[in-house]
Amino acid sequence: MSSYRSGLFLTAMLLLPSVELRAQKIDFNQDIRPILSNNCFLCHGPDEGNREADLRLDTEAGIAELRDPPLIVKGDASQGEFMHRITTNDMDLKMPPADSNLQLTSQQIATLKRWIEQGAEYSVHWAFSPPTKPALPPTKNKSWARNPLDHFILARLEQDNLQPSAQADRRTLIRRLTFDLTGLPPTPDEVEAFLEDTSDDAYEKVIKRLLESSRYGEHMAWAWLVAARYSDTNGYQGDRTRSSYFWRTWVIEAFNSNMPYDQFTIEQIAGDLLVQPNTSQLIATGFNRNHPLNGEGGRIAEENRVEYVFDRTETTSTVWLGLTMACARCHDHKYDPITQREYYELYAYFNSIDETGRVDAGGNAKPVIKVPTLAQRARAEEITQAIQQYNVARSQSLDELRDAREQWISKWTAILNDEQSSSFWTKVVPEKAESAEGATIQVEPRGKVAVSGKFPDFDDYTLSIPVAPGTIEAIRLEALTNDTQYRGPGRNANFVLTSFEVALQTEGAEPTGVKIHEARADFVQGGFQIAEVLQSDSKNGWAVWDGELKTAIDRQAIFLLEQPLVVAENSNLIVTLKHRSEHAKHLLGTFALSVSGSREVNFGTDTVPPADVVKILQTDIDQWKPEQELVVAEFHRTTTEQYKSATADLQLILSEQDRLKEGFQETMIMRDLANARETRMLGVGRYDNPLNDEKLSPGTIAGISAMPEDAPKNRLGLAQWIVSPDNPLTSRVTVNRFWQQFFGTGLVKTTEDFGSQGEVPSHPQLLDWLAVDFQDNHWNVKRLVYQLVTSATYKQSSKVSPELLEKDPYNRLLGRAPRHRLAAHTIRDNALAVSGLLVEQLGGPSVKPYQPPGLWADFSFGKIKYTQDSGDALYRRSLYTFWRRSLSPPNMFDEANRQTCEVRSKRTNTPLHALTLLNDITFVEAARVFAEQLIQENKLDSERFISAFEKALSRPPTEEELKLMNNIVTMSRQHYQDKPEEAAELLQVGESKPSEDIPAVELAAFTNLANIIFNTDEFISKE
């Protein structure tokens, strides 16, 4: 019987548990559209290209069209071609035609007949008309409902003469809640505290505690990662590793900080197009870079790129709109009002990313940005604050400094007037500075020398410096911090100065060498003594690295001349600085030279202010012009201790900032090209096969809602359209997905398809109520979650009576709480948590826990090998397990494969799952560690049994269960007493070391007990 095979019959059975029990009034959307969609739309639907007989049954106009003979005679099912064709026995006329493999059931025909008899009313597909907040339906039972959503659930149950189940016991409630909100079990203490808390809001207090836990974000992130096809590798041949985990951390933090869902949407779709987006908003756009990347040899890059644009278009549609856009890649959608043209208009939003279709940025593909890890980010924030503080300290107000300045002025006026005092440094200003290798050397007016441009491995600098007549006894070299990367004083932080040579050239004559008697430095790096620079040909020299990457500190070297150097008029000092060590690129970057006529100078000796300041100081202070006063005041400020110390600190921290940023990693983001790519419709979706020459502009789907008028014509506009109040889909699709997460099945079971082939909602009014309420409350996700879990519906027991099972096998009416197996990743986390092995650390790169050897090598011909981590990384939450797209973690059964977007999870029950939970090292080790706890914390077997259940199942065991546990331990003890070597072997499983205080036989016996408990249906189920 082919009708048995039609999906529709199944649909009708499951979704509309009993059409007969429903109100007699036929509803087009609930009752008729699914029949027409499944059986008729293929040839009489939205797809204009394949429309038969010019007949269209998906629109009001199509159904009402005047045809000859008439299609439908409203109110009279005995007339009209429509009824005739679906009921005739003439196989040439019969609809649907035999070769379509479709067939209407007699029940469906009866429904269609009734619809016509009732006037054949049409309504727009329910999901495309905006939701309005319905009034709460009346219920017979007035005391059950806890919040608005319960009214809808109860009213529907009462319609079928069903009653809701009793509330679950408190142990079950806290266990259910803790798994649902954090993905982890409650501790016995948490259970106990809840049992003892008799206050009215005890339950709500638990919810609040859990919602504030950072585990909440980790748990909520999983489903979003799956929808976003998150993976740590690219897929395809090569399957290289990418660094998308920054985006994963972003998701966790977004849930934890309860980012409103509209903002969550906008930042992920178009964070890069916001005004001055911050790093976090750019990372958010990684959502649409999570698709696979094809690095296969021989692939055409443009073909790849087009695939990526398809993926973004379709993923975005599924996740936010619940639409199956892929159909419209090649032709108008067969069931929903989406034309092929509209597909490519939507596609156009994603078609101008600055990308090549190649894997061209390590394992990533451009565009990328460098972003900090969590630890780096925390330090970067501290640094930013510190920089601000130092800058404040450096810009002390000149008014505040007035007194100090006046003292300083008098001091220097006196010194400058005293011919005798010579124990100062006087800065000199080179008139010529050359690099032997062609680097650029600039001399600032006050004498600072800065090297830039060409960056050779080794270099000599020669400076020609006019000096005033007099005597020079000492020369000072200051190696100065600066604005380059790492902030100097070398061109690349450190330098090695191998030679410092001085000569005197008096006008016209050849230079004569000046001998240096002694060299001193205020800091030397071990093994790089300052004296080395006096050996002209030395490979050794003076360097200043302090061993901790703190090179950005001003350093001084002082050279005492052998003889006082008498300088005549028109003389120049010729100073040569050589860098000829074995360390390439270790060259001075910024420096200054000073001279002194005294030998009594030292590192702390004062420096005469620069010439321009001296010039002012030498004039009558009362005659200073305001700008001269300012020059003096600003210079003075730079001589204060506060300024000098803040500047030194600033340079050091800027240097640290440079290094920190250098350590940032690249991650993929969205960024548009300056000039948009042209978008054309592609025949059968082939990248090189445009249907025509028409260039399409970005655009949304007319049949859903209009574009907000002020929205920009880019992805930001698209994002705004998606979350606009007029969009009938986004809010419904979103609350439905959260509903699915908490109740096992969505109100619309086909989470991914809200189109006419999707299933109609089991509780349409409830869905609309939630959708409107969610938007009215600013897309507040935690509030929505709170609503769901405080409902009486949620708090029901999941126990099921045979009667209820028979009446509502799939629990679509929610006359009980759902009971189902936990996801594989949650089962693993559960075992780790219960055993105490779990290592909680939020965010960061993925880790590689246990996996059977050789798996990666097998599939990749040895090209990719799994290097298992050790220590803490073995016990992180499953969310952080490295996800290879081509080969997902083997113990994560039933999890989505992360090739494409998936929004509905699978839940099967196979022996392979049993084998995994029984034998995977993860679970065997966790069992042993759990057993150690049980033995160490309790003396008697019976106490251990009770503790085992309380920790693993949040409840004490029954008498019968105690007996079975005793059986397990007794049979295991006997076994291992006979074969102690087997006990020893079992305890070796896993990297952690077994406790030596517990006899092996005992520990092995309890390990078996724990292993069996970890395999009970209750341990792996949400109840």
């Binding site: 692939r299 084998l915 079975l964 049979m971």
Partner: protein, 478 residues
Amino acid sequence: MHPIEQHNQGITRRHFFGRSSVGIGSAALASLLNDNVAADDLPGISHFAPKAKRVIYLFQNGAPTHLDLFDHKPEMQKYRGTDLPDTVQKGQRLTTMTQGKQRKVLPTPWKFRPYGESGTYMSELVPHMGSIADELCLVRSMYSEAINHAPAITFLLTGSEMPGRPSMGAWLSYGLGSDNQDLPTFCAMTSRDREASCGQIFYEWYWGAGFLPTHHQGVKFRGNGDPVLYLSNPQGIDRGLRKNLLDQLSKLNHLKQKEVGDPEILTRITQYELAYRMQASVPELADISTEPQHVLELYGPDVTERGSFAQNCLLARRLAEKGVRFIQLMHAGWDQHNNLPTQLAVQTRDTDQPAAGLVKDLKQRGLLDDTLVIWGGEFGRTPFAQGDMNNEKQHGRDHHPYCFSLWMAGGGIKGGTTYGQSDEFGYNVAENGVHVHDLQATILHLLGIDHEKLTYRFQGREFRLTDIHGKVVKPILA
């Protein structure tokens, strides 16, 4: 049994079998290792009497060259080194490796001869296949759409170039259910060419369930370590102890079921029992020490080497005997872009005798009649040379989806025949083209399934292995 419990179980059965009988969602029940479906009065979905009960697909990843193995083109000799005429090439797309480059005709350097009573021409490189020529239907007019390996393999096995659809074996598991008690319905095994000359990766989706329930996915039998992941008990737990422990687990789960009434718990109890059985049946299956010497010899010298194509062929026969529905062997190699003269002989040596041995072994056991064996790759290779025509040592051929060959044997196939023809260069199909979807339709047909009726609803659409295409190739049916 306690009356309530009995009632519960009754519901469970009705519940599940009821669900099954509604649609082919049915086979959702025919789970991985479930009992014989027919015995439970499940209709299955056979649309007509099947010729084959099972399939052994010897998939040759990397694309074997049809021109040097199966498609005899003696006329090409006279065009050696000349440009392939544009009238033949017709501007069809090529990979980036040969796009815009010279296309000099490269005839095969190997000799062909007729084999068997049927006189089917095949290369001297595959004498063992020649020895079963009278069992084979050699199709010389296959064609595909994708020009790179992964998309083409994915297309052949799932009907779509993009990953995400169920593979053929998963469709059959879903459609027909299981035919054995303690082994998976769908098994996959992989091997690679001896000298690691190619880098094709075995993606999980080649035997994946796509959007079908995951228990329909192929179970990978591994060439090292546990034959099935996590099959072995941890060290320190022997089989006897495990049995006793599982008995206690079963009792704990029964207590739970009695308390909460969830029928899924009963299924779980069964699955644990099956897991335990599998722990014996799989190693037993993988243990070939009981095979007599004359049988081992059929498969050639590599048969004792774990993970080799030869041993996988032997295991395929053992799986077939146990009633496994779809056995997918994947052997990677064949991608001879620039090493045809050296590598082709190596790879035919690895695969020729084992594949022929498998057919002979099936035949001598009477299994060939209802076992369909298929040998072939994802596409063929170009008649023109890739690389320097004058450097004979580095002769190679590029990917070629427009025409290639594969053979089928047993399970309702007309043996000793050839089907379809290529043009004089083996470039395009000249007669009776068999598209990948036609092949898929034919395979399903042989198993008694109308490919247009084996559908699964996903994202609002009824999906098929053959998408909206495919026609059964009737002339090759026995």
